[in-house]
Each structure stands twice: as structure tokens, then as C-alpha cells.
């Protein structure tokens, strides 16, 4: 129950600190893009709107996840708001897990409203929805899985590093993770001990490239059910590991 209360408070903080103002920027971006695309492109309006819309949702979400995530723990320690929480019957792991769900929830709500914007822009340029548009929902689901991973990683870094360092680590892992498939390919080309090391590193970074199907759905191609299952299991496992790490560190931390 404590997890729910902490998550709800984290969500409320994000909303009241006007984090969701990015929705206005997103709405302006999508309206402008839809109008512009309608005028300058012929036959590829859907492709441009889906590509632009989903990429923007992903980037907006990643930025929010990192910038809120880095302060989730450190800000509470710095401002000492944590003292009156942990002196109650609240376990440290409940605090971390509650914070995670609060931010993940914020990102899901944020994504929902941005997705409405994408579908509105799509309707504007295509005048009707078609069956392949349903795959956009899968792409959005994968974007949420991306947020789940990056939120858990940011939380892990913020449990021991300063906010700046946590932001740098998170951004770096996001960028590296975007090229995870290439890293795995590179690892496969090496030999001996190097191969073990490179493969280990390649599998340690989050595989964001497997979660990115924006181009696929923009070209109206479907997604295999096995990929949905695999990606879901992967994201859940990765996030669980990162959160466990955060809990383990936070469990032994002195709150000076």
C-alpha cells in the first residue's frame, strides 16, 4: 500500500511541477507538422507523421524520465523530505519502488496524451484510419517499455551518484543502447577473450534498438507476436534488475 501512496505522490509532484507542459509543446509540434506535411509531401504524409510523432514521443519521454529520475532520490535527501517518510513504517525498498511506479505512471499518462496528438495529426493528413495504424499502438507500447528501462536505470544511478553524473550515465546508456544490435554484431566479429568481454558488454547495455519499431510501423509493416513477448519480458527483467540494484544500494546508504 505504501508503494501506491508514494507512487501517487510522485505522480502528483510531476503534474504540479508542470512537467506535463511538454504536452503543449508536443501539440504545437504535431499540429505544425501535420499542416506542413499536408502541403509539401505527396503520398508520404502518413510515413512522415508517424515517424515524426513517435520519435518525438520517445525523445520527450526519455528527457522527462532522465530529468525527473535523477532527482527522485537525491532531491528527497537534499531537501530532507525523506526523513519524515522513512521514520514511518515505510521500508526503503518500498520508497524506491514507489518512486519508480510514480515516474513510470507519469510517463504512461504523458505518452497517452501525446499519442492522441499523433492520431489526430494522422487523421488530419490521411482523413481516415486504416488497419495498419493499429501497429502504431505496438510501437507506443515499446516506447513505454523503453521508458520503463530508462526510468529504472536513472533511479539506479541516482541512488549513488550526483544528479549531474546520474544524468550523464543515463544519457550515455540510452545512446549506447540505441546501437545495442550493432554492438552485438561487433562482438560477434571478435575472437577469444575479447569476444567474451565485448559480448558481455553488448548484452549488459539495454537493447533499445530492439524496442524501436518506429520505421517499421511507419511503413505499415506488422510486428511478430513473439517480438512483443520477448521485448516485454526483456524490459521487465532489465528494469527489475536495475531497481533491485537501486534498492540494494539505497538500503545501506546513510542519509547524512
Amino acid at each position: 500500500m505504501n508503494i501506491w501512496h508514494i507512487a501517487r505522490n510522485t505522480f502528483r509532484e510531476a503534474v504540479r511541477d508542470r512537467v506535463l507542459y511538454n504536452l503543449i509543446a508536443f501539440a504545437v509540434l504535431m499540429s505544425g507538422a501535420a499542416v506542413l506535411v499536408g502541403q509539401i509531401s505527396f503520398g508520404i504524409e502518413r510515413l512522415v507523421v508517424v515517424n515524426l510523432g513517435l520519435t518525438a514521443i520517445s525523445l520527450f519521454g526519455i528527457v522527462i524520465a532522465i530529468f525527473i529520475g535523477i532527482g527522485l532520490v537525491s532531491k528527497e535527501i537534499e531537501k530532507r523530505t525523506l526523513y519524515t517518510v522513512l521514520s514511518r513504517p515505510v521500508q526503503r525498498w518500498e520508497f524506491i519502488v514507489g518512486k519508480f511506479f510514480g515516474l513510470a505512471g507519469t510517463l504512461v499518462v504523458n505518452t497517452f496524451f501525446m499519442a492522441l496528438g499523433v492520431f489526430a495529426a494522422l487523421l488530419y493528413v490521411a482523413h481516415a484510419f486504416h488497419k495498419p495504424d493499429a501497429w502504431i499502438l505496438v510501437a507506443l507500447y515499446f516506447i513505454i517499455l523503453e521508458f520503463v528501462i530508462i526510468t529504472s536505470l536513472t533511479l539506479l544511478f541516482s541512488s549513488f551518484a550526483s544528479p549531474i553524473m546520474a544524468a550523464i550515465f543515463s544519457f550515455a546508456l540510452f545512446v549506447i543502447g540505441t546501437f545495442a544490435e550493432d554492438l552485438r554484431g561487433f562482438a560477434a566479429m571478435t575472437h577469444g577473450a575479447e569476444r567474451w568481454l565485448a559480448t558481455g558488454m553488448a548484452y549488459l547495455v539495454p537493447n533499445f534498438s530492439a524496442l524501436n519499431i518506429i520505421s517499421l510501423v511507419a511503413h505499415e509493416q506488422g510486428v511478430a507476436g513473439s517480438l512483443i513477448f520477448y521485448n516485454t519480458a526483456y524490459a521487465m527483467f532489465y528494469a527489475a534488475m536495475a531497481i533491485s540494484g537501486a534498492v540494494l544500494i539505497f538500503q545501506h546508504r546513510n542519509l547524512k
Binding site: 500500500m1 502528483r12 509532484e13 526523513y83 545501506h252 547524512k256
Partner: protein, 316 residues
């Protein structure tokens, strides 16, 4: 039964970036606080008061030793449901209103949903924030934050309440209200453990006090017992610059300034000095207590040998 039992609680921090070196924050502390008493934890800034409180609250882990509150371990959630804590200079979620904040804390403390609204309303009224209940905390003054801090500490009707510098930032009226509240808590059978460096508050309120300095316990007991051997001092001022030989022979601290002369003597010497002044036909201007006896005791305990008492004492 003891409300708080501290057995050899010790804390050493590792400081420095590259070459870590140990810094002792609290030497092994042994202390017992009885149920239903107001216990003052006194000491200058940096003495180890907050470190002790943080260890009791489970925010900082002791290097060695142990403590029990209400007979339970420090990490026992059942114990935590029965204690309240007000940190020093508290800061709360400023995007919440006073009512929302207390409601949140009530949820975390396990206050039943059916009682929550009523309990929060009662607390807001008790600390005089009823009219500001729906105001965001970012618009609260320092005094109002302290009040909401006290409210969150006693909201769930805890058996033991810990206050870290509860009078800090309050005006005289606010301080008096906090004192009254502590008295009320004692009457309700609660145990109050509070840290302070304002000795007047401790002397007025506490059943017992402990004095800590440089991480070491320097004295503990009932105020009357601790101060039994301490003489209070008085400052006597009279008109003119004449210093009678009889007063001079007391070897007391004297100072002539302008048209007056002052002497600081032990309280027991007061009558003798007044008699000398009367005999010498010197006009008495004032007799003022210089320090209460607890202050004398405190200064004696926190002052390094050979140092100036008031300077080292860090009195507020």
C-alpha cells in the same frame, strides 16, 4: 518500562574523497529514557544530537551498538508506527497543501481511511493551521512550516515523539505554543525526546536531560539533581565608581563603566554584597540573575578546560 534504550550506539563517518579518514560523530552512547517523560537532549551545534536522532530514526546506520524503542528494534515497522519525528529545520513537499501533506503522512503511518479526514482536520486545528489548510506549503512561512512539521509528527497518535530543535525558527509566541503542546503530550502519557540548545526551554519542560558535547555524553539526570551542586550567579549594579574593599576581597568579577559599577557574584554571596552596599551608602540599581543553574552546569560540561565558557558553550 523504558521508552528508549540506547546501548553503546556509536557512529564514525569516513570523510575525504581520495584518502578516507574516520571522523567520530558519536562515541559509544548509553542512555535510557523512561516512558511518559520529557527528555531533553542538550548540546552545542555539532555535538552529535542530530546524528543520534538520525540513528534512532533509521536514517543513519550505527557503526556499533544498538538501541530499542518501546522494546523493539530500530527497523521494526511496528515500532515506527508508534513514533513521531520532527527533523531540524523541516522541509516538506511544497507542491502539496497542508491538508494533502498530512493526509499523505497519515496514509504512510497506517491511519485507517475512515479516521484520516477527521484526524487531519483535528491536527490542523491543534497547530493553528485550519485557515491555511488548503494553501500550498511553498506559500507557508517558516513558523507555519514548523507547525505543520509538529502536526505530522503527532498526527498518528504516537507513543514516543522525537523533536529535533523544535523551537528553531519560532517567535516567542510559537515557542510557548510548542512548550504547551509538549506539556499536553506528557499529560496524555506520551514520551517526548527533544534536542535543543535553548536551555531555558529544557529547564522549563524536561523531567530529565542529557548533555552531549563533541560526540560524548557529559551528564544525564533530573535537572534538579544535576544542578544541585551548581551555584547560580547574580549581577549587582550600583551607582558610582566606588568599589568597597569588602567587595573587592570577594575576588569577584567587577567592572566600572561610566557612572555605575557592577559585580558578578555567587547567588549565596548576594545578601552579603547588598549589606556592604547598604553600609557604604551606595545606591543599588539592579540585581539580575546572570545564568540559571542549568546553564552553569551546561557550560561546565561543554567547555574545554581553560576555554571561555560562554564562547565554547554556543548558547542561543
Amino acid at each position: 518500562m523504558s521508552a528508549i534504550e540506547i546501548a553503546g550506539l556509536e557512529k564514525t563517518y569516513q570523510v575525504g574523497f581520495w584518502r578516507k579518514r574516520p571522523k567520530l560523530a558519536l562515541k559509544p552512547l548509553h542512555l535510557t529514557v523512561n516512558e511518559g517523560e520529557i527528555f531533553g537532549f542538550l548540546g552545542p551545534n555539532g555535538a552529535g544530537k542530530t546524528t543520534t536522532l538520525k540513528m534512532l530514526m533509521g536514517l543513519v546506520f550505527p557503526t556499533s551498538g544498538s538501541a530499542r524503542i518501546l522494546g523493539m528494534q530500530l527497523d521494526d515497522p511496528r515500532m515506527k508506527a508508534q513514533i513521531g519525528f520532527l527533523p531540524e529545520q523541516p522541509y516538506f513537499y511544497d507542491y502539496l497543501t497542508g491538508r494533502e501533506l498530512l493526509n499523505y503522512y497519515a496514509q504512510l503511518s497506517g491511519v485507517a481511511a475512515k479516521d484520516r479526514t477527521r484526524r487531519v482536520g483535528e491536527m490542523l486545528e491543534r497547530v493553528g493551521l485550519k485557515d491555511a489548510a488548503n494553501l500550498q506549503l511553498r506559500k507557508f512561512s517558516k513558523g507555519m512550516l514548523q507547525r505543520v512539521g509538529i502536526a505530522q509528527a503527532i498526527l498518528h497518535d504516537p507513543k514516543v515523539v522525537f523533536f529535533d530543535e523544535p523551537m528553531s525558527g519560532l517567535d516567542p509566541m510559537g515557542r510557548r505554543e510548542v512548550r504547551d503542546l509538549m506539556e499536553q503530550l506528557r499529560q496524555d502519557g506520551k514520551t517526548v525526546f527533544f534536542s535543543t540548545h535553548i536551555l531555558a526551554d529544557a529547564e522549563t519542560l524536561c523531567d530529565r536531560v542529557a548533555i552531549i558535547n563533541q560526540g560524548e555524553l557529559r551528564g544525564v539526570g533530573a535537572v534538579a539533581d544535576l544542578t544541585a551542586s551548581v551555584q547560580s550567579k547574580v549581577e549587582i549594579v550600583w551607582s558610582g565608581t566606588a568599589l568597597p574593599v569588602a567587595i573587592k576581597s570577594l575576588h569577584a568579577e567587577t567592572k566600572a563603566s561610566g557612572e555605575t559599577t557592577r559585580v558578578v557574584v555567587q547567588e549565596t554571596q548576594q545578601d552579603a554584597v547588598l549589606e556592604i552596599l547598604r553600609r557604604e551608602h551606595l545606591r543599588l540599581i539592579s540585581v539580575t540573575p546572570v545564568r540559571t543553574s542549568l546553564e552553569e552546569y551546561y557550560v561546565g560540561r561543554v567547555t574545554p578546560p581553560g576555554a571561555n565558557g560562554a564562547k565554547a558553550g554556543g548558547l542561543a
